[in-house]
Symmetry: C2
Subunit: 331 residues, 2 copies
DNA sequence: AAAATGAATGTAAACGTTGTCATAAATATG
DNA sequence: CATATTTATGACAACGTTTACATTCATTTT
């Protein structure tokens, strides 16, 4: 890799002038500029983003961090896609950190990101009380949270109306005549799990139904927990006649269990999931689901972050996007 | 962020000594070491990976590039997961580049990766003749290819026996009595599409069936192409009675079309897909599929890369992993 | 014609490390 | 005791940029 020095030598100028050309600053002679551009081409010179980053924090070094809990979850993949989309358009590269709901791993990744001098970070933190992340925010790193916020901390945030989504789902089940509606939730420490629980309870209440806590199970947000918790629910003396699942992976897990027990959907049991997938209509049966605009969440977060990088002072913005219930045949 | 200099000052030593402690080199007094460690803790010092990377290419700067065609494809997500797994265990961070089958985007990402002075790269290149990538390989960057190789270039490679996978799928269909078996392929420029075609043809041939080229359609490897090409096939005067789909996304697209036309699987038409998904048993109907060990591909590639980084000279290794046919109810 | 301006360029420090070399003190060797 | 060796440490250059400041020269202003 040719360096600026070699270019300068070849063009017979100093590095400063080369730098000026590269950052198309004024006051450089047309002929010199041409000579330098020629040398750049000849040597196939590419500026080192590393050196740039080291030299000045002020100038953008075009590196973003993305910290997500679980890349196996199609929802986060879509968020990532949205982020990648705007990052690419602004010439940013992305360091992807997938911490798999493991707080130790999250911690290590945050350290690495800091150490890489990223310009900004988009994160779905493991916990609302993430001290390390809070510190990074208060130290001035541009941060945008997605899906989950940080308690007592002013930070840009893009999420979805979780309570409303759950309400829509459960209300829909009730209107369809289901009486014993279970909720298979994700990790209790994740805010969205709790908001969705609130929506679940509110829908029951608004419809004059009583809340039965044996029908609510918190898991670890993964596929396997969907499998197992659904099995538990089905083996209850009075099993549910419908189940509301807390995310993508749980839904697929629950479906697996239901199918393996040979139950009919929605005849024996109905199901509505949080998170839609574009292939949800090819599931057996086509799944009724609450759709989050995942790609848009990613895009918005990316835009907010890039804004914030260029204006650290602007007041934090919190965006709550809308969800919608997609009715198919599982309910 | 405290720098080494501040630590040195605080501990009353020179930066050299601090560096020695950090790289636990010998010949540093126990008492001094203790003092330095204390200072490091007090200042919450973290070494800058950026400075490290700039300073010496010799010492590992712990940054890997991953270049994949399509993060929406669960196969690549799994590969990524495998890579991430071993990267994390070796304290490497990952710059993720998703080029969405767009060669211009791929080019830009390769430039960025180079400019970021990555230690090594795992790539599924857009084309076998990718000049830019070939150049990077010959310039000495450690590279491991996954899923697709580079022509006339010695490079580590991890892939799967595509021909055999296709053969298994098509042979299975034939044994089940299907007569007109279509193949909805991905992009023709992608080697795996062609190897799968070879397997498809070979299975026909070995079973004494004639090859009908109107039953083979190449697309762009995305969901939408599955939708459309399947529609084309179904509206043929003599439509197929079975279809072999070239990847994950195509399978889901084809399913969508089949369902939307109200056809029964496998009664009206059978389907077997390349790429399994763990939730394939929840599809309607449970999908018969050729399984690639995607996570293992990622892991192996990660291991090969880390090996190669530490030993640039070792002869290239090409690994071909096995596929298996998972029989469910769509055939 | 001297002074002031401005354009074009160069010099050098800085960013935070690593690593080579030099130096000083302590210890071992004869 | 003189010399050689080892141990512990520091000084400084280098990596490839950016940028503040200095310099040179041509042009304009008085």
């Amino acid at each position: 890799m040719a360096s600026m020095n070699e270019v300068a030598k070849k063009a017979g100028v100093s590095v400063a002038t080369v730098s000026r050309v590269l950052n198309n600053s004024t006051n450089v002679n047309d002929e010199t500029r041409a000579r330098i551009l020629k040398a750049i081409k000849a040597l196939n010179y590419q500026p080192s983003r590393v050196a740039k980053r080291l030299r000045s924090k002020s100038v953008s070094s075009n590196l973003l961090g993305v910290l997500i809990p679980d890349i196996e979850n199609p929802f986060y993949v879509d968020v990532l896609r949205g982020i990648e989309d705007v990052a690419y358009n602004h010439n940013y590269a992305i360091i992807m950190c997938n911490f798999g709901q493991d707080e130790k791993k999250e911690k290590l990744y945050l350290e690495i990101l800091q150490s890489e001098s990223i310009d900004g970070l988009i994160a779905a933190p493991a916990s609302e009380d993430d001290l390390q992340l809070k510190k990074m925010v208060s130290d001035g790193l541009p941060v945008v949270c997605v899906d989950r916020g940080l308690s007592n901390t002013e930070v840009d945030l893009v999420l979805v109306n979780n309570e409303r989504g759950a309400y829509l789902a459960v209300d829909h089940l009730i209107k369809r005549g289901y009486k014993r509606i279970a909720y298979i939730a994700g990790m209790q420490s994740i805010p969205s799990s709790r908001y969705r629980e609130m929506g679940y309870k509110k829908a029951l209440e608004d419809n004059g139904m009583t809340f039965d806590e044996t029908l609510v199970r918190f898991g670890n947000s993964k596929h396997q927990s969907g499998v197992e918790l659904c099995r538990e629910l089905l083996s209850l003396p009075e099993p549910p006649d419908a189940v509301f699942t807390g995310n993508n992976l749980i839904t697929l897990g629950a479906l697996e269990t239901i199918h393996s027990q040979g139950l009919k959907i929605p005849g024996d049991i109905a199901i509505v999931g949080f998170d839609d997938m574009y292939w949800a209509s090819s599931l057996n049966p086509p799944l009724t689901a609450v759709r989050q605009p995942a790609i848009e969440i990613g895009r918005r977060a990316g835009e907010l972050l890039i804004q914030r990088i260029s204006d650290t002072k602007r007041a934090p913005i919190q965006m709550m996007l809308n969800v919608e219930l997609i009715e198919r045949s599982s309910t």
